[in-house]
């Protein structure tokens, strides 16, 4: 069902009448060549795999709650979920933007390589696990083991962080505005630099959050796990 609104071409899907497979085949095969600028998805009702594998610079609006893996592997697209999401939103995101207006369950933005994920409310545990270059901004708090083994990219938490934050971190950087229940192995709090403030300010602006960057703490890797230390005698 195609319509024109304010000069842009919009296509609507209704997941009460159409399947996620039909939707995703349209998004993969037709959207990249038909010039449609926006796709709206009604009645998502927590279905899994919505808009996985996007590879076109279009807007995708999900008008409700989505299930697992929504906007996984996103490339170029600007995806907005007007509700909450299940596990692994924007997993392996490559580029573009994914915005969740509600809450996110576990593993949000896991192992992404680029792009920006914004979660307006809280994210659950393992947020940004193994991220490899993507940015994540969470308006609320994150659960335990967030940014576990994160290799590159930035995780910004405007609320509190659960236990084991940044366990076994590589080169990703974490900024936390609220309380941290506990840092994971090899994660440490470091002084912020001018560069940190500029980087944070840019991310907060893109995410649409208005906080003073002075309120954030920086957490990064102490790099003590980078090399095997025989003297520890397995005592890690």
């Amino acid at each position: 069902m195609e319509q024109r609104a304010g000069g842009s071409r919009i296509v609507d899907f209704d997941l009460e009448k159409q399947t996620v497979r039909e939707l995703n085949q349209y998004l993969h095969k037709e959207l990249p060549k038909n010039g449609v600028e926006e796709v709206r998805i009604f009645n998502p009702d927590g279905a899994h795999h919505i808009a996985v594998g996007m590879d076109a610079p279009a807007k995708v609006d999900i008008m409700g709650n989505a299930g697992y893996f929504v906007a996984g592997m996103n490339k170029h697209a600007e995806v907005t979920v007007r509700g909450s999401v299940g596990w692994s939103v924007a997993e392996n995101i490559m580029s573009g933007t994914v915005r969740v207006e509600g809450y996110a369950s576990e593993c949000a933005g896991a192992s992404g390589r680029g792009g920006l994920l914004v979660i307006e409310k809280d994210a659950s545990s393992r947020c940004g696990i193994s991220m490899k270059g993507n940015d994540i901004v969470v308006g609320g708090s994150v659960g335990h083991f967030s940014a576990f083994m994160a290799q590159a990219g930035r995780l910004v938490v405007c609320g509190d962080a659960g236990d084991g934050l940044g366990d076994s971190l590589y080169e990703a950087v974490i900024y936390v505005r609220g309380e941290m229940k506990g840092l994971g192995a090899d994660a440490r709090e470091e002084p912020t630099t001018e560069e940190d403030h500029a980087s944070l300010a840019g991310l907060l602006e893109r995410a649409g959050f208005d906080h003073d960057t002075e309120e954030f703490k920086r957490v990064a890797s102490a790099r003590s796990l980078y090399h095997w230390n025989a003297d520890r005698d397995q005592g890690y």
């Binding site: 009702d45 927590g46 279905a47 899994h48 709650n65 299930g67 697992y68 909450s84 299940g86 596990w87 809450y103 369950s105 576990e106 659950s124 545990s125 659960g143 335990h144």
Partner: protein, 306 residues
């Protein structure tokens, strides 16, 4: 993956909607690769001093339920009600329940007891949850709360006996998404306390452990806390008793859970899609239960002691 479903109707005026809502939720959990399903419903107390509801399953479907009730009636000298749905029946001796139970176990060994209690009814079977819900008329059930499950077996056989919920003692049931790594040592410990097991299922060990703690005088919170020390593995548990619905996730919260609360109900499931079609869910307080937090909802709102 297993799917869990819990529902408690906070408004007693809405008890007639329990089965309808729970069936919607169970169907929402039917896409996790399930091989069996089951449901425990707390459908109001059996009438009569010392009356009990006994949920019975005859896998072969050869039992004559009226004949069974008649035999039990003659033996205990009390009225016995029976309501049958296919090869499941709820048999209600209106007194002398222990005697009725013993008579049935000795004289009708093909009748497998799924639950005993004042208000619990249990149905479980292998097969697709849609078919099981239809076969046993889940949508028509009326009561205060439900604990239900769709199973994808990972550690023991696919049979009706291995399907959840597991019940122990009276009015206690448990469903589980996850797996335990020490069910055998738990089992040996509980057997030393005189407990007998029906299956080799890991969830049965958890159910018997928690019910044993409750019977020893623990509150629900204390029993679950003892579980944090003794149960090793991954779990989201939903626990039902005659008065309460309880939820707990292991310290790593590896298994999913989402809850929605309105003035009308508290609904819990493994995924939101199970809650998506409940009336009023768009205005509900929807949250993900925290790891190692104990959530307990009472059938009747708690009255503060003065």
């Amino acid at each position: 993956m297993c799917g869990i479903v819990g529902l408690l109707m906070k408004d007693p005026g809405k008890h007639h909607l329990l089965g309808e809502y729970a069936t919607k939720m169970l169907e929402g959990m039917a896409t996790r690769g399930c091989d069996s399903a089951g449901l425990a419903a707390y459908t109001g107390e059996a009438e009569g001093d010392g009356a009990r509801k006994i949920s019975v399953f005859d896998p072969d479907g050869n039992l004559d339920w009226n004949e069974l009730a008649e035999g039990m009636r003659k033996h205990i000298g009390r009225d016995v009600d029976v309501s049958a749905k296919g090869n499941h029946a709820v048999v209600v001796p209106r007194g002398a329940a222990d005697e009725a139970f013993r008579w049935m176990v000795e004289n009708r060994p093909e009748a497998h007891v799924l639950s005993v209690g004042r208000s619990i009814e249990v149905y479980k079977d292998a097969g697709h949850p849609f078919d099981i819900a239809e076969r046993y008329g889940f949508a028509e059930l009326s009561g205060s709360h439900v604990v239900a499950h769709t199973r994808m077996a990972t550690e023991s056989a696919v049979t009706w006996a291995h399907a959840h919920p597991f019940t122990v003692g009276e009015d206690f049931c448990l469903v589980h998404n996850g797996s335990l790594s020490n069910p055998h040592s738990l089992r040996r410990m509980l057997e030393r306390h005189g407990m007998r097991f029906d299956t080799d299922n890991d969830t049965e060990a958890a159910a018997r452990f928690l019910e044993w703690r409750l019977r020893e005088g623990d509150t629900m919170e204390e029993a679950i806390r003892a579980g944090f020390r003794e149960l090793d593995g991954f779990y989201t548990f939903l626990i039902g008793t005659g008065e309460q619905l309880a939820l707990v996730r292991d310290p790593f919260a590896c298994k999913p859970a989402v809850a929605a609360e309105t003035d009308e109900y508290v609904a819990i499931a493994s995924e939101f899609r199970s809650l998506a079609h409940l009336p009023g869910v768009s205005d509900a307080d929807v949250f993900e239960p925290m790891p190692e937090e104990i959530y307990v909802w009472n059938k009747e709102p708690a009255v503060l002691a003065s």
